[in-house]
Symmetry: C2
Subunit: 456 residues, 2 copies
């Protein structure tokens, strides 16, 4: 059967690319409050594609953007039920002038499709739908029951997904959650990811004088929100790049000896990694390797700074207000709410009386890690090896999937992450892409994963 | 004669306001490279106005924006020659939504005219032209010879004015330079300003990864230009708000006992000043009074920060680049070029190898101070007392007039600053204004100043 499925996948590549292109042309940017129509259009597209597979599928409204739920229905035998999780929302495009082709045109070049959301996560979501289509069109049925939960708020912290899962607990009941929203380890090595970082995302807004003031007439006599903002942000880390927020590291779980061995065995080339970033040099918390910093150590990053005169040339003002976006990636067993509160306290302690301070919390999410030796992880690793013809690496990931701890808590299911996109796929940056080879091999891997789970 | 002149000024107020309105409606923003037409239009307006007074006047092109030169021609007797200096260029408008009426509409309300450039410097320049007009229309001649130099690059550092003065040294020969580009001491007290701060204006541009990267996948492993920028800016000052740049204070001239006495005698109310700024608290270099910080101590201020995700909501990126506008106001006898170089060295020393750094210098200008007891200062103080019916304060100013040290060096003339605008006139901020009372009293003061200089 798997050969017939592989043939279907091979013979339908053009159709798959056309379908992915159609979905990528919908600008479903979840941070953009004016994009409600696009969000519904993308949700509807996914729902109809599931219906076309012969599955039940519905659009479920939430307090934010809608989610899509699907279900293949019961399968033969007593195999496990799989819940495919993914998201149809995408990041903002950033500076559009940096894109070589428009972010929502979906352009094919050099064997890859370039568009915002190509890798994160529309292309990877579709490997699961295309694999299901291949099974249905070839075998006429699914090897195991597969359910789908494709949400529209992943890029804004999945604020309404917890309530949705709670309210649909029975409908979503499953043995494994499987998702593809992570990357391969490198071009040649696909990856099964068994842990992710959590996140606490903050915005600071400082107010000083009631309006921009002449820096000559008033300089040196009142607090300048720009200087204060720099002091606050700088004060959050020390010279060793350790976060100075009191209690920040209290619950950081040490890496296990097994994980350390696995990590040390990976073919990780720091120079290749550095070249991928384009940075002049690696940098990070003292005392840890680059991989440890990526996967098991919490981080604190400025995502944006803004305020005062930002135009061409010179304007001599003391800015009335100044803002920063600052986010932390946290690890097991840091508690996002405790870290959020500790951050706020630390920032307040760093703020002089000469400025006003407002702190917004845009997102909080826990980290996740699952046992490296679970049967689901094993089946996934074998399936990906078959789909790619290359053994996958078992890795962790610095990105955040807020839904994973929730799945475990509400559905009692561990999550398996099969990563098909390139590590330098530019998710969140300009010129995001997903290669057609990964679209095919990912679809082949998913098809095999369902096959392996079926009762023999 | 001075009564007839006062009457002319009183009777022509409407015409003066109409003329000022016409000039204010020209958006002569010198930082804006697309405003070349408006710059020429404003220069031409000033030139024609001088011609209308019966003076010779020409537009002189420079490597940047043009300047206007005028000359009343020789006067009777052996009185001194006065050079009126001013500028027709204005600051950018900043956030236009903060303006209650459009910045280039010039709206009259509550006895003031609101527009970008109303106080800084178009309204104040016109007091000199209106006073000359009053003399010419009333007496038919000027009491002393008056020359005019109205430039278009004051707000961008007067980069081409030095060359112009050098090349027109004979044409501009004078005994005093007089200008009105400073403020009154408070609403009731006009001011003669005898010193200004200099300026060194810098822009820092940091580059990290070749493009915005996913802060989860890459966080903690490369230098984040946003965190680095905060570290650099924070590193330029210590906890006492003293600038940490090595050698920064080496040549700072201590305040003289005479100046200290004069400063201590001024009716300065810190709470009124604080309320004017709208800041929650005063702040500044430890060990100095608010007035000392404003007038005699050098300062370092952030004028703007920019880069990364600056939109609504959250985007989880490590920014590819990040920038800051940072300016210093320097005092006698700090050398702007030495301070500029010391700043660059200090910033480089604070920059880790994980980011690229580019430093732009937008402006350097020396500070200026002139003897408090010169005959010109005395004549000006008496003239302003007559024009306003209130004794002026003798003060220094935190703002920068790069041209003053040049006038002294090239023309051998000291500069007298008669300040007619309100201290909270919002120069450089939104809702800049100039009151009609100050327009009238300023014009009366200038007319008297010329009278006092005439030979008896």
């Amino acid at each position: 059967m798997i050969e017939r499925i592989d043939n279907y996948i091979r013979d339908n590549q053009d159709q798959f690319v056309e379908s992915l292109t159609a979905l990528l042309r919908i600008a479903s940017i979840s941070t953009d409050k004016s994009a409600a129509a696009e969000m519904h259009e993308a949700a509807s597209w996914v729902q109809q594609r599931l219906v076309a597979c012969g599955f039940a599928a519905e659009i479920v409204e939430t307090a934010g953007h809608p989610a899509v739920l699907g279900d293949s229905g019961p399968a033969d035998g007593d195999g496990p039920t799989v819940l495919v999780y993914g998201h149809y929302d995408v990041q903002p495009v950033g500076d559009e002038s940096l894109w070589h082709t428009p972010p929502f045109e979906a352009t094919l070049r050099n064997g890859s499709i370039y568009a915002r959301g190509a890798a994160d996560d529309k292309g990877q979501v579709l490997t699961h739908i295309f694999a299901a289509e291949a099974w249905m069109k070839t075998a006429g049925k699914m090897p195991v029951r597969v359910k789908y939960l494709i949400e529209g708020e992943e890029e804004v912290g999945s604020a309404n997904l917890g309530a949705l899962i709670e309210s649909r607990r029975k409908q979503l009941a499953c043995d494994y959650v499987v998702l593809s929203d992570t990357a391969k380890f490198n071009s040649r090595t696909p990856a099964i990811t068994y842990g992710t970082k959590g996140m606490v995302y903050k915005e600071l807004n400082l107010t000083g004088p009631k309006q921009d003031l002449h820096s000559g007439s008033f300089g040196g006599t009142i607090a300048n929100p720009g200087n204060v903002l720099a002091n606050i942000v700088a004060g959050l880390k020390d010279h060793d790049q350790r976060v100075t927020i009191p209690g920040f590291y209290d619950n950081v779980r040490a890496i296990s000896p097994e994980e350390q061995v696995a990590m040390d065995g990976l073919p990780f080339d720091e120079q290749v990694y550095l070249a991928m970033t384009g940075s002049p040099a690696l940098d990070g918390e003292a005392g840890f390797s680059t991989l440890a910093r990526r996967w098991v150590r919490p981080t604190l990053d400025v995502n944006g700074l803004f305020g005062g005169f930002m135009g061409e040339g010179a304007s001599t003002i003391i800015p009335a207000c100044m803002g920063a976006k600052v986010s932390m990636r946290i690890v097991p067993d840091q508690d996002p709410e405790k870290i959020s509160a500790a951050f706020d306290s630390a920032v307040r302690a760093l703020t002089p009386e000469g400025v006003g301070l407002e702190i917004k919390t845009h997102a909080t999410a826990a980290a996740y890690v699952c046992p490296i030796d679970s049967p689901g992880i094993k089946a996934a690793a074998e399936a990906v090896e078959g789909g790619y013809g290359a053994r996958p690496a078992l890795i962790r990931e610095g990105g955040t999937l807020p839904i994973l701890p929730l799945f475990r808590q509400v559905l009692g299911a561990n999550s398996i992450m099969m990563g098909f996109c390139e590590p330098d796929c530019n998710a969140h940056g300009p010129n995001e892409f997903f290669s057609l080879a990964d679209l095919t091999n990912g679809t082949r891997s998913v098809a095999r994963f369902l096959d392996r789970l079926a009762p023999r």
